[in-house]
């Protein structure tokens, strides 16, 4: 990739001081880039630091150290961040797992989708606002009747669609989705994943997709990073990662995913990896074209 990436994260370290004696090292030095229009998958087990990365990137956490560049400007620098705040908040959007908590229960669907449009002054008249809200509802597959409903009246899948509509409406350059389908049913999961894919193709936004489910990540991502204990252990193009996994943890993860094929499952060998031996030490280096490994 020769053009400037949308997002570049360099040596991001994120510690949380609980008290004088105890510090949680959530993320300990990770580096990655997300290109324009790329779908970047971040996968790892509970507590591996995936969500912390997402929150640090959108500026919720104050970084312990490291740098984050968004479209070439260093947003981890406070002065730069303050200067570009309005632009950043429009161009970076996040979608959470728990859509019930992410939507204000006292606002109607139309108000929820309209709010960021008004704040960012993206429409001049009331009619234009109505039209954009309508278009975005259509885009995420909700009909007009949902306009005046409250989040409490919607199902989990529908709420997640509203959260997506709200993010899409202001045409961001980067969307971070933190386990967006984790709490949904299988058939609804498929609907939402398909929706993400359609929207991504249409609007060409860059997309960081965080999940613990490797089969979804594999399906949607162009490139995948595998996280373990606050480190990226391996990062490669999707096909390369699945055909040629190098880190023992990646191998173990891939072999652990249950495949819906009983005869295969019966003979499958699960590769075990004892994560307690993982120290996180070593260099994160490119071993072949675009394939990075912590070794």
């Amino acid at each position: 990739m020769t053009e400037t990436p949308i997002l570049e994260v360099r040596n991001l370290v994120q510690d949380f001081h609980i008290n004088r004696k105890f510090t949680v090292k959530a993320v300990s030095g990770i580096t990655f880039t997300v290109g324009k229009g790329e779908v970047f998958g971040l996968v790892g087990e509970t507590g591996s630091g995936k969500s912390t990365v997402a929150r640090s990137v959108i500026g919720v956490n104050r970084l312990t150290s490291g740098k984050i560049f968004f479209k070439g400007s260093e947003i981890s620098d406070k002065a730069v961040y303050r200067q570009q705040k309005a632009d950043l908040q429009k161009n970076m959007q996040i979608i959470f797992q728990d859509s019930a908590a992410a939507l204000n229960p006292q606002m109607t669907v139309a108000q929820i989708i309209g709010e960021p449009l008004e704040i960012n002054r993206l429409c001049k008249t009331k009619e234009e606002l109505d039209r954009i809200i309508y278009e975005n509802l259509q885009q995420v597959g909700l009909s007009e009747i949902y306009r005046d409903k409250y989040p409490g009246e919607l199902s989990g899948g529908q709420r997640q669609r509203v959260a997506i509509a709200r993010s899409i409406a202001i045409h961001p350059d980067l969307i971070i989705a933190d386990e967006p389908i984790g709490s949904l049913d299988i058939s609804i999961q498929a609907q939402i994943v398909t929706l993400f894919q359609e929207l991504q193709k249409k609007h060409r936004f860059s997309f960081i997709f965080i999940a613990h489910d490797l089969s979804i990540i594999r399906f949607i991502s162009d490139r995948i990073a595998v996280m373990l204990k606050g480190k990226i252990v391996e990062m490669a193009d999707t096909q390369e990662l699945f055909e040629n996994p190098l880190h023992p943890y990646t191998k173990s993860l891939i072999s652990s995913v249950p495949v819906p094929d009983p005869r295969y499952e019966r003979v499958k060998k699960i590769i075990e990896y004892d994560t307690s031996v993982f120290t996180g030490e070593g260099d994160f280096k490119e071993v072949s074209q675009g394939h990075y490994l912590l070794n």
Partner: protein, 352 residues
């Protein structure tokens, strides 16, 4: 329906542990009667793992809880029978049920922390379950508890015996719950999404453990899950539930390699791991029906692209495909157009 009853006669009566006969279960709510389970026929045999698959709200959990009579007061068995080991327990009182829980059936839930007492050492929670059903001394109970901890693969059980649940990881907690469930040698374990809250690597170990326990103790497991990958790994037989009914049931091979019900096709097609490269996922349109007023015909008709006129009018009966494989769809009627399953699990999919 008669077809099934004939096939059942062939099964050796000895092996059947649990038999649900046309079981219907309703909740009385202020809005009206919610028919959560609608006429389920099901058997569980000794030592088998039966998986129940379906979307949330299809009645899979409620069905298990109805057997154990763990339902709230507004639930009632509208019709049908629950037969355990040849005894009809449909009208058992709470006192009679209590002696069955633990000895005949146990249940494991999704969230181990909700099952375990956070203030009580793990060992004590297991011995408590043992004392409940057997008149044994404290030492005997303790040695049995240590045996169980060993069985479920907890290292250094003597030391861990005295630790509270918060010292354990999520996977280990779920193992401890399993130990409690196994404490008085139940014949059936109902496992309600026992691995959903676990990481994939931990989940793989837990599934292996369940298979191992089944082989060692011969306990039957009713495994409720929505994850078809997990089901493929663990199940001997699979029942697919939709809107309170079993729409297809068969051996795990029959369900995965030769599914007949359009809903089963839909579930399979929605799986990202089975999608062909570059092709979009196919999802089932719409939402499951509300069971307050279940539709007159086939509940799946509205979401079914193969629905025929009769689907909206008459509920399809169970059609027998093989002695072990049944599906409730009008597509299997001889008058229906022959439709090739759009979904085919072929060898190419074994790509991992």
């Amino acid at each position: 329906m008669t077809v099934i009853h004939e096939s059942r006669r062939n099964e050796s009566e000895m092996d059947v542990l649990l038999h649900l006969e046309n079981l219907s279960l309703s909740f009385d709510t202020p809005e009206g009667e919610v028919q959560a389970v609608r006429g389920v026929d099901l058997t569980v045999k000794k030592g088998e793992i039966l998986a129940i698959v379906g979307e949330s709200g299809c009645g899979k959990t409620v069905m298990c809880q109805s057997v154990m009579k763990l339902l709230p007061g507004n639930a009632r068995i509208a019709s049908g029978k629950i037969i355990v080991d040849g005894t009809d327990i449909t009208n058992y009182s709470e006192k009679e049920m209590r002696s069955l829980r633990g000895t005949t059936f146990s249940m494991i839930f999704q969230d181990p922390m909700a099952t375990l007492n956070p203030t009580m050492p793990i060992g004590k929670q297991i011995t408590e379950a043992i004392h409940q059903h057997r008149n044994v001394s404290n030492d005997e109970a303790k040695s049995r508890a240590l045996e169980l901890l060993e069985l479920i693969g907890i290292e250094d059980p003597v030391h861990r015996y005295d630790l509270q649940p918060h010292f354990f990881s999520g996977g280990m907690r779920q193992r401890c719950v399993l130990a409690i469930a196994l404490a008085s040698n139940p014949k059936i374990i109902f496992a309600d999404e026992p691995t959903t809250a676990l990481d994939v690597t931990v989940q793989a170990k837990m599934l292996n453990l369940l298979l191992e326990i089944r082989d060692k103790t011969g306990v039957a497991i009713v495994f409720v899950s929505h994850d078809l990958g997990v089901v493929a790994r663990i199940a001997d037989r699979v029942a697919v539930m939709y809107a309170g009914k079993i729409v297809e049931i068969g051996t795990v091979e029959e369900i995965f390699y030769d599914p007949r019900h359009p809903y089963t096709w839909g579930l399979m097609q929605a799986l990202p791991s089975l999608a062909k490269d570059g092709q979009p996922l196919k999802s089932i349109p719409g939402m499951p029906p509300v069971l307050l007023k279940p539709p007159k015909g086939d509940a799946f008709a509205e979401r079914n692209e193969y629905a025929m006129k009769i689907d909206y009018e008459l509920m399809p009966p169970m059609f027998q495909i093989t002695p072990t494989h049944n599906a409730a769809t009008w597509l299997l009627d001889e008058r229906a157009p022959k439709i090739q399953s759009p979904f085919c699990l072929n060898q190419e999919n074994k790509n991992q």
